[in-house]
C-alpha cells in the first residue's frame, strides 16, 4: 500500500466514497466524495501529539472494539496516507469549538475544524472493482451463544487478539480472566454451507485460516491443546494439504462433526461443547476454555452502490458476477470494468493477487490499445418513431441508452456500450428500435417459413445463443433422442423475443411456442432475461383474456450444459403439442385476426 501511496501515477483517494459513475468503456466519468478528515493529510507528520491530549476515548472499530481509540486517530497502524483524522461524531465539538486540545498541540497546524467534504470528479477509461469482503454474523447460529459467553469469539477476533497491534501485543488471553487458555476449540463453517442459516456456499478461506491459526498457536504456545470441529477440511491449493498435515502432526485434534450446542460452566467459565462425532457415530462432550467460531465471508455491503453505478450483476451468493466463471473470470459484463479479489467470490490472498494482476493487465491492454471492438449486433433508434418513453433505457442492462423524457428528444444508443441483447428492441412499443442483424424482418420471415406447411406439427422454439441453443447443440452432439417437431429460432438473448414474434407464430398456426434462455444466474447480458420473464408473464394473462390456453406458451431456462433438460423439455412440449387440435389452432388464428379481439 505504501508503494501505491508513493507512486507518481497513482492518485489514491482514501477515506472517500464513489458518488456516481456515468459513461461507458473508455469514457467513464467518476464523482467521488472525499470525506472531511479535519486534518490536513499532507501536512500531518503523524507525530501522535494530538492523540495524547484528546480526552475522548471510543472503541476502536478496526480492532472490533477490543481496543480503544481517541476522537482523533489513525484508522490503523499501516494506514496510507499516514495521517490522522477526527471523527466529528465523537469529537467534543467544533461548533462552537468546545475542546480544541488537539489543535493547541499540533505543531504543523494541520487541524482544520472547518474542513468540508470535497467532491472530486475525473474521467477514466476503465475501472477495476476491488471492494473486498465482510464476515458473516455469528449470532445466526444461536446455539453457540456468541453474544452470551465472553469466551466464545470469532476467527476475526482471534486474529486481533493474537496480532501485534492489540493491547496484549500478541499474547492470547481468554476474555473472562485475562489468562492464557489451556485449551481451545475451533468450529468450522459458521455461517457457511448451510441452506437454512447463513450462506449456502463454502467461504473458501476459513479452513486454511484455522489450519494457520492452529499452527501459529502450536508454535507460540505448544502447551495449548487445540481441537478443530469440521465437516470436511478443504485444503485444496498448492502447499495447503501439507500445512493441514503439519497441523495434525503437531498435535491439533481434528474431530469430524459440527457441534450442536455450547453451554458455559458458570463457575469456571469453561465451555461445554456437545457434538456428534461422525467418525465414531457417538455424541461427545468436550470442555474448552475458549471457542473460536470460524466465520464465513460475505460481500461488503457497500458493493451494492458500485454494482448499481457500473450496472454490474450479482450472483445468487451476493458476490459480483464475472462474464464467465471459467473462461472470462476477470471481466465484468460491463465493458471496461474488471473484478479483482473477494468482491467476485471468497478467495485467499494468492488467488486475489492473481485476479488483481489479471485485472490490471486487462485494463492496461485496453488503455494502451486505445480502441475497442464494438459488437456487430447493436441496436439503432429510428428517431422519427421514438416517443421518448424511456422504456428502452430502463430495460438496457448496460445503461447504454439515454433518453430525455422531459425534453421528449429521441433515445440515443451508445454503440460502444451496447452488447446487442435486443431487449430494448423487444420492449419498445413503438417499433422505434431496429437491431443490426437478427432484425424483426428476418425473425418474422423465419416464422413465416416455419409454418408454411403442416403448422400443426411444429413447435416454434426461441433459443438464446449462449445457453439454450448450446443445450440443444450438446443434446445433438451427445446423440440424445428427442422428438423432431421443434423448429429453433436463435436469438442472442431471450430478451430479444418480442411479443409480436410470439403473436405472429400463433397467427401462423403454431400449436405451441417455447421461449428459452439462460438461467437467471447465467444471463450473458447481466439481467436481460428478467425482462423475458416479465414479458411472458404478461402474455400468459393476455392469452387467457383472448381465450387462448396460456400453457401453449412455454418458458424454460436451459443452460448450455443441460442437454438432458433440453431433451426433457422437448418431450414435454411435444406432449403438449399433441393436445392442440387443428380446430383449436384455427380458433386461435380467428381470434388473433379478429381486429377487436386480436
Amino acid at each position: 500500500m505504501m508503494d501505491v501511496g508513493r507512486h507518481p501515477k497513482i492518485n489514491l483517494l482514501a477515506y472517500s466514497e464513489i458518488e456516481e459513475i456515468t459513461g461507458y468503456i473508455g469514457n467513464f466519468h467518476v464523482k467521488v466524495r472525499k470525506k472531511a478528515r479535519y486534518v490536513d493529510e499532507k501536512a500531518c507528520t503523524a507525530c501522535d501529539e494530538c492523540v495524547k491530549v484528546c480526552p475522548v476515548v471510543m472503541p476502536d472499530e478496526h480492532q472490533l472494539g477490543l481496543s480503544t481509540r481517541k476522537a482523533i486517530y489513525m484508522p490503523f497502524a499501516q494506514a496510507v496516507p499516514a495521517s490522522y483524522l477526527i471523527n466529528m461524531e465523537d469529537c467534543l465539538g467544533n461548533n462552537p469549538i468546545a475542546c480544541d486540545k488537539c489543535a493547541e498541540v499540533c505543531d504543523p497546524k494541520c487541524i482544520d475544524f472547518d474542513q468540508q467534504d470535497e467532491f472530486v470528479e475525473f474521467d477514466v477509461g476503465v475501472a477495476i472493482v476491488a471492494t473486498g469482503m465482510y464476515v458473516c454474523d455469528p449470532t445466526i447460529l444461536d446455539e453457540y451463544r456468541y453474544t452470551k459467553y465472553e469466551n466464545v469469539i470469532t476467527s476475526w477476533e482471534f486474529e486481533i487478539l493474537t496480532g501485534p497491534g492489540y493491547v496484549t501485543k500478541g499474547e492470547l488471553l481468554r476474555p473472562t480472566d485475562r489468562k492464557p487458555p489451556k485449551n481451545i476449540a475451533f468450529i468450522q463453517c459458521v455461517g457457511s454451507r448451510s441452506e437454512k442459516r447463513g450462506n449456502p456456499y463454502c467461504s473458501n478461506i476459513c479452513c486454511m485460516n484455522t489450519v494457520k491459526d492452529t499452527l501459529f498457536l502450536k508454535e507460540h504456545h505448544p502447551e495449548i491443546d487445540c481441537s478443530v470441529f469440521y465437516m470436511d477440511i478443504r485444503s485444496f491449493g498448492k502447499g495447503y494439504e501439507e500445512l493441514y498435515k503439519r497441523s495434525k502432526a503437531v498435535g491439533v485434534k481434528y474431530i469430524r462433526g459440527i457441534p450442536g450446542d455450547i453451554v458455559e460452566d458458570p463457575k469456571t467459565k469453561n465451555l461445554i461443547v456437545t457434538v456428534e462425532n461422525t467418525t465414531t457415530g457417538k455424541i461427545e462432550k468436550h470442555e474448552f476454555e475458549m471457542v473460536v467460531l470460524s466465520i464465513g465471508v460475505i460481500p461488503r455491503p457497500e458493493t451494492e452502490q458500485i454494482q448499481r453505478a457500473l450496472t454490474l450483476s450479482k450472483a445468487p451468493c451476493g458476490f459480483l458476477m464475472e462474464t464467465h466463471y471459467q473462461l472470462d473470470p476477470i471481466d465484468s459484463p460491463t465493458g471496461g470494468v474488471f473484478l479483482a479479489g473477494c468482491c467476485e467470490s471468497p478467495k485467499d490472498i494468492k488467488s486475489s493477487v492473481i485476479q488483481a494482476s489479471g485485472a490490471a493487465s486487462r485494463a492496461e491492454t485496453l488503455l494502451t490499445t486505445g480502441k475497442v471492438k464494438v459488437e456487430a449486433i447493436t441496436s439503432t433508434i429510428i428517431p422519427d418513431m421514438c416517443k421518448a418513453c424511456g422504456i428502452c433505457a430502463d430495460a438496457c442492462p448496460y445503461g447504454s441508452i439515454t433518453v430525455d423524457r422531459k425534453a421528449k428528444t429521441p433515445a440515443v444508443v451508445v454503440e460502444a456500450a451496447c452488447k446487442g441483447c435486443g431487449t430494448c428492441g423487444a420492449e419498445c412499443r413503438f417499433d422505434a428500435i431496429e437491431m443490426k442483424h437478427f432484425t424483426d424482418r428476418q425473425i418474422m420471415a423465419m416464422i413465416d417459413a416455419m409454418f408454411e406447411e403442416k403448422p400443426e406439427e411444429k413447435i416454434c422454439i426461441f433459443a438464446c445463443n449462449w445457453c439454450s441453443y448450446g443445450g440443444a447443440d450438446l443434446a445433438g452432439l451427445s446423440r440424445m433422442q428427442y422428438p423432431p417437431n421443434g423448429r429453433i429460432i436463435r436469438t442472442m438473448c431471450s430478451g430479444r423475443v418480442d411479443e409480436k414474434f410470439i403473436w405472429h407464430a400463433f397467427k401462423k398456426g403454431a400449436p405451441v411456442v417455447l421461449v428459452s434462455g439462460c438461467h437467471f444466474a447465467d444471463c450473458h447480458y447481466i439481467n436481460a432475461n428478467r425482462w423475458t420473464q416479465k414479458r411472458i408473464e404478461g402474455m400468459w394473462n393476455k392469452l387467457e383474456r383472448k381465450g387462448i390456453r396460456p400453457k401453449r406458451l412455454q418458458l424454460e431456462w436451459i443452460s448450455a450444459a443441460e442437454a438432458v433438460k433440453w431433451t426433457k423439455v422437448m418431450h414435454a412440449v411435444e406432449d403438449l403439442r399433441k393436445t392442440v387440435t387443428k380446430e383449436e389452432i384455427e380458433e386461435t388464428k380467428k381470434i388473433l385476426s379478429d381486429k377487436k379481439k386480436g
Partner: protein, 47 residues
C-alpha cells in the same frame, strides 16, 4: 410490492403458493415436474 399468490405450473398443472413481486422477477421451478413455466395466477381468478 410482494404479495401472496398462487403459482400454476403450465406444464403439469401443479399449483402452489408463494410470494410474487411483478417488479422483481425470480427464476421459478415447479416442485413437481421442474418446469420454469410458472404462472402467477391473477388474483381474481383464484377460487
Amino acid at each position: 410490492m410482494a404479495e401472496e399468490v398462487t403459482f400454476k405450473c403450465l406444464r403439469c398443472g401443479y399449483e402452489f403458493k408463494g410470494t410474487y413481486d411483478r417488479k422483481v422477477p425470480e427464476e421459478r421451478e415447479c416442485p413437481k415436474c421442474g418446469s420454469n413455466s410458472i404462472r402467477p395466477l391473477p388474483k381474481k381468478k383464484e377460487k
